[in-house]
Amino acid sequence: MTRFLAIAVAEMHILRRNRWLFMATLIMVLFALALTFAGSAPTGALGVDMLTVSVASMTTLSVYLAPLLALMISFDSIAGESDRGSLALLLAYPAGRGEILLGKFTAHIAALAFAMTIGFGTAGAVAAWFGGVSVDSLIALIRLILTSILLGAVFLALGYCLSALAGGATAAAGMSAGLWLIFVVLYDLGLLGAVVLDQGGVFTQSVFPWVMVANPADAFRVWNIAASDSVALTSGMTGAAQALPMWAAPVSLLIWPVIGFVLARAAFQRVEP
């Protein structure tokens, strides 16, 4: 068995035993179900099935939850080992630092994928059962699950990076909270402010969509909305998504995990246990 898989297996034991997997799945199921039922009111007015509305609501939810869950799992991964004093021994073994990161990543992304699939899948099944389903809405649901996992991957990698830079688990937790706030809340607020100041000028027309899609959280939103007309309709967010070519959001969301991983690997290299 290769080394990164050995690390992944051990990490899976840890996630299972410290209840992370259970709690994350429970959170996903509860939130997704709540949004599905709360958001089912406008179905008739818009003329789309309940699953479509549900996917639109869950897209908004996932923008917040996927990065949060990913950071919760990853902030401790290097800083925690360093605090505990187990990092030196691990690094004395023949596994390279890239392999260690890859092993942890494999386990963490599998856990996130499990929580996302169960959570969104349950809500989707409930919505389909009560309010009808179409091929379009089913594809939208699958797209939501896959892109949520990708978004999680971005913040897992960024979490490792902070965990390596922070020097301690407490500092890493604080930095992760800051990172989440910047990417998910402050970035959009800043852009909104810029658009208001610009009053429909050059920035709003041509620069703004690109700056927006450079943020993985927004790229996730744009991808899900732009790809499905009915989801875009229910979310009321069509303008910005239409200003961009189709490939922009997927490229951003696919490149970010790689960038994050390279940054994390570089930061980990500098860690002296």
Binding site: A10, S86, L89, P94
Partner: protein, 297 residues
Amino acid sequence: MMDKALTISNVNKDRGKIRVLSDINLSLSPGERVALLGHNGAGKSTLIKSILGLTSFQSGEILIGAAKPGSARARAATTFLPEAVSFHPALTGREQLTLFARLAGEKADVAGLLDRVGLPEAMDRRIGTYSKGMRQRLGLAQVLLGKPEVALLDEPTSGLDPISRQDLYAIIDELAAQGTAVLIASHALTEVEARTDRIAILRKGAKVADDTLSNLADQAGLPIKLRIRAAENPDALAAQTGGTRINGASVELLCSPATKMQALRQVAALGDAVVDVDVTPPRLEDLYRHYSGEAVQ
């Protein structure tokens, strides 16, 4: 000539403006057990981390066999027991050791190893429930994975009860017998005394001694202590022998190895005035104080 398992030549390391390792030279042959002694902060752990490639040094060279520290070859040839070893509390002993075996690329008998270090009944319990001594035993079990060329043990006796220490030294002997060079950083001076082939002493990042225990004792010229107990008047006895009274009944005399018998004859000649005599050769602690630059008492 046999190749050295570990060669450290002229290693210097600065941390900020402080020189934490200064021109260190040390080599270990296969099967040799060497104690690395020094105060806290003398550079023992830093030297071990340098050998492991976990920290860089400014100049000099370290070779594990012929491999550079931190290279895949060097890491495969080295085992390490960190000071106050710790593991993820959510894993069981068996899972943790299985992980290490896979990382080392060994097809290990995990249950057998845990049995060997005295953890058979705890192997499927979470490490979070282990005592400090049990974690140390688990740390020892991972040292025994494979047939390492170099074993680096940082304070291996910390947290172990006396019986476990005996087990530890049996394990060290076993490692040495299979040809592993063992470097033991320790504070437990009296124990490494009989258990190592050679002793190296670090002081403020510099090596101040590196030899067998008997050679070090000869070079240091430390006195042998004779403690005699007086029948009734210790002050008179002290005056008579030229020694010093150390408590209500005893007098202590210092002599060199060459004059020991002469001193003993003198004591014997005192007859009934002396009830008892103890001869204490210089111990490692005295040597350690001598070489690490503290006043010998």
